[in-house]
Symmetry: C2
DNA sequence: TCTTTTTGTTTACAAATGTAGATGATATGA
DNA sequence: TCATATCATCTACATTTGTAAACAAAAAGA
């Protein structure tokens, strides 16, 4: 995914690092490296490399704490997720979006309250939803 | 995204090609190259390279038609999309999935009938949905 | 103080990706 | 039949990504 403000893209491995920082909040590199070791089996060097790249890309900021560095996310998880979600949708056929979202929803674990929100959202969308959605994959084809 | 049967991953550029093939069905390379030229501004060579890579990855098959090649998708769009959607969800915090799907739905254009399906799906999910969903980003953290 | 241990910074390096030119074979129109 | 346009295949090449070792500075324990 590509991040607006910074215009840097987040690779899959980097995303794993961001998740940890988002969850743990400001935290030291050893803590992050540890998590990566456990979750992904990555050597410490690997974690450090990813952290550096994310700093260079402007997605993480650092602040020294004695000899070590404290990392912090410069973009909120919500913003990043929404951008990623929109990019994902933008890359696929518009006609397929509805069914795809249905499949994703069926696979996702969603809380009661989030489901309630979804119901309200859908009810609202229904008011202006089109009868059918056309494929937008090819130019001048129909 | 990574495709099960073939175990090859589809890059962003390649995905653009697949979309065209899925939409146009079996079609000649010039036709595809043309679309890519229009949609993406890619030189013919670029389109051809992508086509070759997709064939090598086992995502497209070819059949000769005179001097040219007819390309055809070896994986259905639906399967590919569902896999991509699941991978996408797998890469993000479980706790955020509900809200993210809501954001995506709010941005997507969805037909009346797909919305109806969504309503039914949600109603069904509500019966077993948890009160809350925990973050699954870090090991032994709570 | 001297040796380990930590931790940040450099360098490494293969594979994947984005993007495309060069070449060679083959139709095709003149 | 000869020049020309078409394709398919090969080669190219910079960047990004995944994964990590090497090195250096500094702190901590002996």
């Amino acid at each position: 995914m590509r991040v607006a403000e910074t215009d840097a893209s987040i690779s899959d491995s980097e995303w794993a690092v961001m998740r940890i920082v988002w969850t743990m909040g400001a935290c030291s590199s050893p803590a992050i490296v540890d998590q990566l070791q456990q979750q992904k089996g990555w050597r410490p060097s690997t974690g450090k490399t990813l952290l550096s790249r994310l700093v260079k890309k402007g997605l993480l900021s650092t602040r020294p704490d004695g000899r070590r560095l404290i990392y912090q996310a410069k973009i909120s998880q919500t913003d990043a997720l929404q951008q990623a979600g929109r990019e994902f949708l933008a890359a696929i056929c518009r006609k397929q979006q509805g069914k795809l979202l249905a499949d994703m929803m069926s696979k996702a674990t969603i809380s009661q309250s989030d489901l309630d929100d979804l119901v309200a959202l859908i009810a609202h969308k229904k008011q202006t939803a089109p009868q059918s959605v056309a494929c937008n994959c090819c130019s001048h084809m129909n």
